[in-house]
Each structure stands twice: as C-alpha cells, then as structure tokens.
C-alpha cells in the first residue's frame, strides 16, 4: 500500500519505516501529520518549479523599479531588446529585485538546508550515540564532549562556527549541524542503554552474534522511530536557524535569495515598506509550523513517550 504520507521528504530522513499498514493508517488519521505534510508538499513544489512560477530573475537588479509596493507593475527590458511588463505581486526591494520571485526561490534554500541538516545530524549522531551506548570505555569521553557542546547555547555555537569560515551554504549547514548532534547522540545513547539490557539482546550475545550484526539487527531498529521524530524537529529548527543567521548578515551570502536574506534586506526601509519582511516571514513561519506539526503528529503516533526538546 502506498500512503500519501510516504511522499513527504521529511518523514524519510532516517531509515524507512517497516511497511506496517497500521502505522500508516494511524498517521493518516492524525490531523497534524496530514496538514503538516500538505503544507510541506506545497512548499517543496514551489521550490521545485520556482523557475516556472517566478515572474523574473530573482537576482536581477532593476534600478528603475526600486521599492515598489505589492501588485505594482514595471517594464523591464528583456535580453532581446523587447519590453515586457512585470507585475510585482509582493513588490520589489531596494535594488529593484522582485520579492515574489525571490521568495519562491528562497523555498529551495530553506528546504534543502532543513533536509540536509536533519539527515546529517541524525546520521552523525546515530554513529556517535551507538558508539557511546555500546562501548563503555568510549562513553564517558564522548559524553563529556557532548555535555560541553550542549552547555553552549545552540545559536551561539552556530554563530561561532560560522565566524570561523567563509560565509556559504556548506559552512551554514555545518554550523547548524554541530549544535544538533549532541541532542541526537543523547537520544540514541539512551535507547541503546535501555535496549542492551533486554533479554533478546542478551540471548543474541550468548548465541555468539558478531557485534556489528548485533548492533544492526537488534539495536538499530529501536532507534528508528525516535530518530524520525527528532529528525523532523531538527529540520524545523534548521530552517529557522538558517533564516536567523542570514537575517543577522552572517549566513548565506546576501545575493543568494533566501528568506532570511530577503528580510535582512528589508530591514532598513521596514517602516515604509513592511512587505519585504512580511511575505518571506509568512512563508518561513508557515513552513516551520508545518514541519513542527508533522513532528508532533509523528511523535504522538510513533513514539508517544518521547518529550519534545528534552
């Protein structure tokens, strides 16, 4: 059975769920999951077909059409010399760039960052957490480092990592992954610690199962559900943190259209032209809200015992 929920990019960040129809049916019955997936899908589609729906080049500077209010029109000279009239659905910024086109392209960056940060944090955290939970001698060293990392407030740590490298997509992704990893490590470690005491694991050890097989066959499956939930929340917070870094002017380079960058650009003239902050703000909030709702719904169905942001 192929449930519509399976097309969500977020739900698939970790190992796919075993195809139990009951789980899918339960997920479909959760309003949080359905609404969350629907909004996320719309945003993904907007990002994918951005070149088709954008009314103009998101980086094209047009000095003749600066600071237009939403729905204003302007004429643009095309490459072949003809003139075309463009309607700026969301107005233009101080350089005359079309805000609607920039917002549409911004969806690409936000979703890409959300998904890649979630996948990276979960994978790195899974490996380290497994090691810490399974090999006692590694545990105290790893957990000391994780405690230290968690003592630095997340955004501050991200800012510190960004400050060490040149601004760019890769460094922003690394900067957001670093503070998230310890949280995943803690989660995985606690699952491993409780599972390794289970009789079936002891039985497998007694039967002489090799360590690697034991970890993959008997311990790993227990981490899947909590990690899918955690990965979804990480995706939401990554989209937020990217916007915050870009907004502060220390994230993705300002010429790249991201929601944070559009809002950073709109700061100076906010009093007269609030649309530069309003529209990308709505898209950003809606996306993060949808991913958070999806996470809440997933948690309630897959992993009812887990507490959010522990």
């Amino acid at each position: 059975m192929t449930a519509p929920a399976s097309s969500s990019p977020v739900a698939e960040t970790a190992v796919p769920l075993p195809a139990k129809p009951t789980v899918w049916r339960k997920l479909l019955r959760s309003p949080n999951v359905v609404v969350g997936v629907a909004i996320v899908l719309v945003m993904v589609c907007i990002g994918l077909i951005a070149p088709l729906i954008a009314t103009s080049d998101p980086t094209a500077i047009n000095p003749g059409a600066r600071n237009r209010v939403p729905m204003a029109t302007s004429t643009m000279r095309m490459d072949d010399g003809t003139r075309a009239t463009v309607t700026h659905y969301m107005g233009t910024d101080t350089l005359g760039r079309d805000v609607f086109s920039r917002v549409v392209y911004g969806a690409r960056v936000s979703i890409f960052i959300g998904i890649s940060v979630a996948i990276l944090s979960v994978s790195i955290g899974l490996v380290i957490g497994m090691a810490a939970g399974y090999f006692r001698w590694l545990d105290s060293i790893i957990m000391r480092i994780m405690d230290g990392l968690m003592a630095i407030p997340a955004i501050l740590l991200a800012i510190a990592v960004v400050s060490l490298s040149r601004a760019g997509l890769a460094s922003v992704i690394i900067a957001i992954v670093v503070p998230e990893v310890p949280r995943v490590v803690r989660l995985v470690r606690s699952v491993v610690l409780s599972v390794r005491e289970e009789p079936y694991v002891e039985a497998a050890v007694t039967a002489g199962t090799p360590t690697l097989k034991l970890i993959i066959r008997h311990i790993l499956p227990n981490t899947v559900a909590p990690l899918i939930v955690q990965g979804t929340f990480i995706c939401a917070s990554a989209i937020l943190v990217e916007a915050i870094l870009s907004f502060l002017g220390i994230g993705i380079p300002p010429d790249v259209p991201t929601w944070g960058n559009i809002m950073a650009e709109g700061r100076q003239l906010f009093r007269i032209f609030p649309h530069n902050i309003l529209y990308p703000g709505i898209f950003l909030a809606l996306t993060v809200l949808a991913v958070n709702m999806l996470g809440d719904g997933l948690r309630d169905t897959l992993d009812p015992k887990m507490e959010k942001r522990g």
Binding site: I155, A160, A285
Partner: protein, 313 residues
C-alpha cells in the same frame, strides 16, 4: 545539603572545562596564524608579535592552553582591536541592557505561561486547551525577528505606544527604561512562553489524576486552590527545569532581538564581533554565556528541594 551543593558545583567544572577547551581550540583549528586572526585585518607587525608572545604561541599547544586559561581565570579576557578596548570593558558596558531584557522576559514568560499551561491542563481537550497548544506550536515556529517587526509595526509605528527602537538606561529613569523594553521583552518571551506553557500543561495533567487532588476537591477546596496550591506545587519540578533549559533559547533570542530593536547589549555585540571577525570578543561572549547557562541550571537543580521537600540531599 552542603555536601550536595559542593558535589554539584564540582560537577560543573568538567563541563566548563570542556567548553573552555573548545573555545580555545576554535582559533587553533582554523587555518592561519592565531595572533594575526586575533589582531584583526588592520594590525601592525608589532601588534601581532606582542600577541604572539602573550599567547605563548612558540610553546607547545598544551602550555598555550594553560597560559590562555590562566589569563581568563584572572579576568583578563584579552583586547578587542576592532573596538580598541579590553574585552572586559566592552562586556561590562554592554551587560546592562541584556540583563534588563533577559530579566523582564523571564518574568513576563513565567507570569503568562504558567497560568496558560494550568488552564490548558484543567480544560484538557476543550477549545481552550487547543488554543493554548496551538499558540505553543506557533510560538516555536514564527521566527523571533518576524514577531519583533510585527510588534514594532503595530504598537510602535501604527499605534505609537512604544518607541520603535533603542534602549534607555535605567539610570535615566525607570519608566523610560521599562517603556523601551516592553516590546523587546514581549518579542523574546513568545518562544519561552510556548516552551513553559507546554511543559506546565503536561506536568499538571500528570498530577491532576492523583488521589490528593481528589481528596482536596472532596474536602471542598476551591478549584483555584486545588489547581494552584495542590496541583501546581507538585508539578513544579519539571516546570522549573524547563525554565532553566529554556535559558539557552533565551540567549539565542537575545542576539536576534537586540539586533531588531537596536539595543546595545551583548547580543548586538556578538553580531558586530562576528561581522568584524573580532575573535577575542566572540570567545569571551561564548564563555560568558555558557557559564551563565550552566550556573542557572545548577541553581535550578538546587531549587528542587524548595519545590519538592521529598527531594533531600
């Protein structure tokens, strides 16, 4: 009790030590001469040489660490070549706005979030519960700066009730100080309220089914007394814990809020320092904020005995 406090204090030492190691390694792991990075782009050769000697860059790395740690412990946080001041001076200048903002935000958040959470638990499953929980999810999702600009637009620009941006020092009068902080504190408190209200609801829900709640109701206590005296008091430990953990969110939010409202505090200083690649300042701020965060959570741990006398150390 005293031995427990000492043990808990001792337990924070390795955490802070790890933070110090990481902050120290920050510069050593980046490619380039640490002295040149610290001195900034406009440094003279003499300045770079002075820093090299001061940091002991010719020594082995372990020794460099202890030289650095020693000066930090003596309160010498280095010098900002960008701001042309010692880092200590810079931080003490900027600390008042940040402390004021954080203080008002915590008070506001606790005063709003706890009654909301109790109410949501009391009316579990009704529209009140759904509105509070819905607000909580939205609070986690709307970025601080969007809330900030929205509040500025409505309450400062359209209605004119509060100043648009800027900070008034408390020495210039309590009223102007308070007025300049109302909007920033509201902005910053949204995510904190979301966090605390959620935890309050969960925690109160758990105790509401206890026998002593039924007993309290049976002996004719008013609902308000049952909720706030019997239920809330027993639900307090997780709530206080989340108030402590939430300080990390608060510190992140301070950086953004101060930028939105042009408040000359430590958050604004952080952004300026990163833009200027002013590493002594960045290092000192990370150390200071982490220290405060660890300290607050230590205090939270120790406060458990007040809220739950069954916990004895």
């Amino acid at each position: 009790m005293i031995s427990y406090i000492l043990r808990r204090l001792a337990a924070t030492v390795p955490v802070l030590f790890t933070v110090a190691v990481m902050v120290f390694l920050m510069l050593r792991l980046t490619p380039g001469d640490p002295a040149a990075i610290i001195a900034g782009d406009n440094a003279t050769t003499q300045q770079i040489l002075d820093i090299r000697t001061k940091l002991g860059l010719e020594e082995p790395i372990l020794q460099q660490f202890f030289i650095w740690l020693g000066s930090i412990l003596r309160g010498d946080l280095g010098e900002s070549f960008f701001f042309r001041k010692t880092v200590f001076e810079l931080i003490s200048e900027r600390i008042e706005p940040t402390l004021s903002l954080a203080f008002l935000t915590i008070v506001l958040a606790v005063v709003i979030a706890i009654p909301l959470g109790v109410l949501a638990a009391y009316r579990q499953g009704t529209w009140i519960d759904r509105v509070v929980m819905g607000f909580s999810v939205i609070g986690f999702s709307v970025p601080v700066f969007v809330i900030g600009y929205l509040l500025i637009y409505i309450f400062a620009i359209k209605l004119g009730w509060f100043p648009v941006q800027g900070y008034q020092r408390i020495s210039g009068g309590v009223f102007p100080w308070f007025r300049s902080l109302v909007l920033p504190a509201f902005t910053l408190s949204v995510i904190y309220i979301a966090l605390i209200a959620r935890m309050t609801r969960t925690s109160v829900l758990e105790v509401l089914s206890e026998d002593y709640i039924r007993t309290a109701r049976a002996k004719g206590q008013t609902e308000v007394k049952v909720l706030f005296q019997h239920a809330l008091k027993n639900a307090a430990v997780p709530i206080v814990t989340v108030v402590g953990i939430g300080v990390a969110l608060l510190i992140g939010g301070v950086v953004v809020t101060e930028s939105v409202y042009s408040i000359p505090g430590l958050g604004r200083l952080t952004v300026d320092a990163v833009l200027a690649r002013d590493f002594p300042v960045i290092q000192a701020i990370i150390l200071a904020f982490s220290f405060v965060y660890v300290l607050i959570n230590l205090i939270v741990d120790l406060s458990y005995t007040i809220f739950d006398p069954r916990i004895r150390y």
